[in-house]
């Protein structure tokens, strides 16, 4: 019930992300309206405001002190405040030093400025912290320490504070709670007990999703062969595999594929029956090993699609890397061993390259921007180049299915990074269901979470080892691609930019269980569904905030984004959102929402009158076209 109280309180002037842009004296970055409530009960509201504030960078000048006080009281009574430090200086890269109070709870750190003129709040989810660094603070006297929080979301706030014997050092406190797993503490998601009216864990049901795709059919079956995760510990329990294959063969194929990730169906074309199949690299090795069962398996996949006598394999890797992998017992399918197979390399670099690319991007956008060399600096990161490779690769896959009516097999090395990116993007292009708010959640649950994209390793949830080479922003890259597509097709996606940013924020936050752990097996063992809340519970409890007002359901439309360099843009509203000079969005969406409300109202009224007219059995009732069946996105039929 705290939730509801929160919503009521939140209905203040700043609740709407695109509210009136009455920003006061723009002193500093990230001035967030002080409307937060209890840190536990209303994290969600709070997060939303954080996002809202960053999207609009709107500053509310007026803050009632009551709010702050009450907030602290509630905070005291509910979540333990681990540290409450006065006289902390926030070293703002944009507006200089700010004096204030630093509070650390289980879940967040927030800094409130006490200076009367500009009320200022900076808050950081502890989960977003990548590492803590001590910095030197000259000219602030002895006993003053400097602290930099290097964050995963493209910012690094810095503080200076006086050390005090009587209090525990905040670095220690932060270390402990920002990296709970390294200190044998539970992730915050396990402590978070918010109740939502909608249960997000029910969003994805693999069997139901395959049924939606029209499976099983005569060629494909929904198999329980991996129900105990014995065949492949990183795959989900439910897999779709060809009907005509024996369990023994499958086991042999598993031995021939890296991490036992056998070829399984991800998506089937509703008309041509062409399929997207994903797997890991074959263990060909330096001696060019063959596996009859694997060859046969691909043959069956090809045969399952009557429309084409070919099968295309997209290896996401650079061809040179694939060849080197042979030396490490990996490799790729030889076109001479697999009949009628065409092999394409998509030349996408690996996770380490991507990590480096985003790291460079952070330097470009935070804290200051080199105006004279903006474009060349972006070029140096190669980030957009990789986005383009991904989108182009996914478009090739989609085109192969749609126009070529040919089944495709997608893999990289282990089949959980680039493979997930490519299959999910291709599915987004091919299937309009995935472009809905609900469908997109299913897509992420299916292609990423259930198929074992190693979120825990790639993000490093609660782990202090920031230098771990397993970390990489592959999922961010995917969301960026989705954003690029939504820019090119502004009416084709049911969700909006806020949704994408929210997903990314909670990728790090550890507030929800959705992105925790590396595989379905691990999640089962940790009882994630029982013990944590799903991000989709939160999202689906207030879908209106995340809905794109332009959305029109283009059923059966295949979207091919343009991937020319002229059409890709840096997602500054995500990457550069901490920059206070980021222009507030003019409330265009508000205008639109009003128009949509008006339209819905008109539509309702027309229907009402039509009903009434027909109930009065007008002779001319046949002149009226039937009332619209589809309420969203369909035209109002004019019937006069």
């Amino acid at each position: 019930m705290e939730k509801q109280a929160g919503a009521a309180d939140g209905a203040g002037p700043n609740r709407n992300p695109w509210g009136s842009p009455t920003n006061g004296s723009g002193a500093g970055d990230l001035l967030i309206p002080l409307l937060f409530l209890s840190p536990t009960g209303s994290h969600v509201e709070w997060c939303k405001q954080l996002i809202a504030a960053t999207i609009s960078s709107q500053i509310s000048g007026s803050v009632q002190p009551d709010f702050v006080n009450r907030d602290n009281k509630v905070a005291n009574s509910s979540t333990p405040i681990h540290s409450h430090l006065k006289d902390v200086m926030y070293i703002c890269p944009f507006s200089g030093l700010l004096n204030g109070t630093l509070t650390i709870t289980d879940y967040k750190l927030y800094f409130t400025s006490v200076e009367k003129e500009s009320h200022f709040v900076l808050d950081v989810n502890l989960g977003v912290i990548s590492r803590l660094e001590t910095i030197s603070v000259p000219n602030q006297g002895e006993n003053t320490k400097g602290l930099e929080l290097v964050c995963k979301d493209m910012r690094s706030p810095r503080f200076a504070y006086k050390t005090d014997e009587s209090q525990p050092d905040i670095v220690e406190v932060l270390n402990k709670h920002a990296f709970p797993l390294s200190h044998s503490l539970p992730l915050f998601a396990f402590l978070y007990k918010e109740q939502f009216p909608v249960d997000g864990w029910k969003v994805f049901d693999a069997a139901a999703e395959y049924r939606r795709q029209g499976l099983p059919n005569e060629s494909w079956t929904i198999s329980k062969i991996n129900s105990t995760y014995e065949l492949c510990d990183t795959y989900p329990s439910i897999l779709v595999i060809p009907t005509n294959i024996t369990d023994d063969d499958i086991k042999r194929v598993a031995l021939f594929r890296a991490k036992h990730r056998i070829p399984v169906l991800s998506w089937i074309h509703p008309e041509s029956q062409a399929t997207i199949v994903r797997c890991s690299q074959p263990l060909v090795g330096p001696s060019d090993r063959r596996c009859k069962e694997d060859e046969h398996f691909l043959q069956i996949i090809m045969d399952a699609n009557a429309q084409s006598h070919k099968l295309t394999i997209f290896d996401a890797r650079q061809s040179s890397v694939a060849i080197t992998n042979k030396a490490k017992d990996g490799g790729y399918e030889s076109e001479s061993f697999y009949s009628n197979v065409e092999l394409n390399f998509l030349e996408i670099p690996n996770i380490h390259v991507m990590r480096e690319s985003l790291r460079k991007m952070k330097d470009v956008v935070y804290p200051t921007i080199d105006e004279a060399h903006w474009h060349s600096a972006i070029d140096q990161t190669h980030w957009l180049e990789y986005i383009r490779l991904l989108l182009a690769g996914a478009a090739k896959i989609a085109d192969k299915l749609e126009s070529g009516k040919t089944s495709v097999v997608v893999h990289c090395s282990d089949g959980w990074d680039r493979t997930a990116q490519l299959t999910s993007l291709a599915m987004l292009m091919l299937d309009s269901y995935y472009r809905t708010l609900r469908g997109f959640q299913v897509l992420v649950e299916k292609e990423w979470i259930s198929f074992g994209h190693k979120f825990s390793a790639r993000v490093g949830h609660g782990d202090e080892n920031h230098a771990n080479s397993e970390r990489s922003p592959l999922f961010i890259q995917f969301i960026d691609c989705v954003w690029q597509m939504s820019r090119q097709f502004p009416a084709a996606f049911e969700f909006n930019e806020l949704f994408l940013i929210t997903v990314l924020d909670h990728l790090y936050s550890c507030l929800f269980g959705t992105f925790l752990y590396n595989s379905e097996q691990e999640r089962m063992a940790k009882e994630v569904q029982a013990k944590t809340v799903s991000l989709w519970s939160y999202i689906n409890s207030q879908p209106e905030d995340f809905t794109n007002p332009f959305y029109v359901d283009y059923e059966n439309h295949v979207l091919y984004p343009l991937v020319s360099s002229r059409h890709l843009e840096l997602w500054t509203s995500y990457y550069a959102r901490w920059n206070p000079r980021m222009r507030p969005q003019v409330p265009v969406h508000q205008t639109l929402k009003e128009m949509l409300i008006l339209r819905a109202e008109l539509q309702r009224r027309v229907e009402e009158l039509q009903r009434e007219a027909s109930s009065h059995s007008l002779s001319s009732s046949s002149e009226h076209s039937p009332s619209p069946t589809h309420t969203t996105g369909t035209p109002l039929h004019t019937a006069v």
Binding site: Y560, S564, H567, R583, A613, T634, P635, L636
Partner: protein, 659 residues
Amino acid sequence: MEHIRTPKVEQVRLLDRFSSKSTNGTLYLTATHLIFVESSSNNSTSAGQEIWILHHHIASVEKLSLTTTGCPLVIQCRNFRMVQFVVQRERDCHDIYSSLLRLLRPVCYEELYAFSYNPKQNDQQREEGWQLIDLGAEFERMGVPCDQWQLTDVNRDYKVCETYPRDLYVPITASKPIIVGSSKFRSKGRFPVLTYFYQEKKAAVCRCSQPLSGFSARCLEDESLLQAISKANHNSRFVYVMDTRPKLNALANRAAGKGYENEDNYSNIRFQFVGIENIHVMRTSLQKLLEVIGTRPLSMSDYLVGLESSGWLRHIKAVVDAAIFLTKAVTVEGVSVLVHCSDGWDRTAQVCSLGSLLMDPYYRTIKGFMVLIEKDWISFGHKFADRCDQLDGDPKEVSPIFTQFLECVWQLTEQFPQAFEFSEWFLLQIHEHVHSCQYGNFLGNNQRQREELQLRERTHSLWAFLMSEKQNYLNPFYSPAYSEAHPVLEPSTLPYHFKFWRNMYHQFDRSMHPRQSILKTILTLRENSQKAESTLQALETRLQQLGVTPVATSDPPAAPPTRIQRSNSNTLPPRPDSLILGAPINHKEVQRHEEEDEQEEVGEEAMESTDTERTVEGSSGTDSRKQSYGELEGTYNSDVAKEEPAVVSLEFGVARMTC
């Protein structure tokens, strides 16, 4: 026509600039246009695509050496269209080439299209068109003349300055001898005059050319004219003098006996350089940009680096920065500003007009924007004839200064979607006609020349034409309330707020068009709502006729909240088809080119889909998509499409003329 040797060539191939596609057709050469008509061989349902190119739009024609397939002819247009034809026979190609060479270099003004263009209007209508914009009324709107500023007749006969208009506004205290004296001390006699008056603070924006100061020359009259400008504003004890040139350029000018104001000689001025480069730098910069974006396989890296090294966006930012400086000085400090560059007709026009646009919401309306261009550009003698190469002139005088101004405005519309009454279309259309020479407005270099050419009697006004099509240029996001709340715009100049204007520079490159446009979606939405409203009314009337009172369960459509709704609650004329956002394309062109887009990048040949149910956006086209390129039509506006007029202007705006 005597210059046309071959009026028609068949079997000509049109090559696409960004893909390996080509289309076959026939090339026609008329007195005013070069027309390519695609032969409708393979697709019986639709007539072929037509491309009409006005001769005045052609910047250059190049004949490449003969290849096995024919003789290539490359045509580059001022509106950034680029076409390549391959003509089978070398002789035909040469004929067209040499005819074009003659046709696109008119020797006298009378050869320009405007003098033959006749939109079927009588003299009265023509006259009314020219009266649409009245600068006298505009100065009245600003509150001039007033107790400090007056209209002077010193230039009634263009005797003091032949590139200025007749009517000029100066401080009351500036006597004729002072003005005449000052004009002799300024390049081309362009002495300081008022261009915008910010009533709220009584601060003035004045413009002039550089002083002929050399290293030490002084002019007391000029000094007292500046003094008079300063005195006219009681809010401030000084005036800013903004030299829009980089300091180095100004210094170089000093050696030539020109230069800039010495703060020691003028009492109460604050002098400031703002560093906008000259016309030659701008010309080269845009050329570089066009080269970069014209490259077919353009890697991300080449694009980003090329964009930056062309410097184009940096120059745009420099102009916007200068306008921001001007705006702040006037609206925040309440100080009058005198703006100049060298001659005071290029950078000065850019900065004054852009500054006024930031200060005054009126200039952000359709009518106001016309007034702004008429005032700061046309009447104050921006040399359109030279800069746009209307006659065969000095290539060194050609420069995209006005294009740059339009782009600055576009960048602002991107930052402030609610602040402008007009959409991108309006800007593109103006740009089109600055070069088309179809209307009289932009012909010649100054007002005096225009009077000599009797343009008001012999040609038509673009403003009247644009006004008659006003519906097409409305920005659905426009909110007068926003302008009331934010009369002065404060744009951000972070680098990512300056974007490449794809719809300008790739206007005619179909493969570069956006996939979907929000603007179009909203326009459709609005039309739907309006239809719903009329349906509603009709139903209610009907019910009333039947003696039934409509159920009062709902309030009448929830008090339409949007202003847009209010302002055009009545019938909206159907939009022409060419208002497909992304670029002006004609109906016929649309159907043909659907396929080509993705190929270049994906490198896959997409096969025609035979499925009727699944629709492909972007790559392979199916016949089920009747309407548009790059637009998801869906079902939701199919009824709108039906009502659209059958006659479609071919090139957006350039009316069809046969001869």
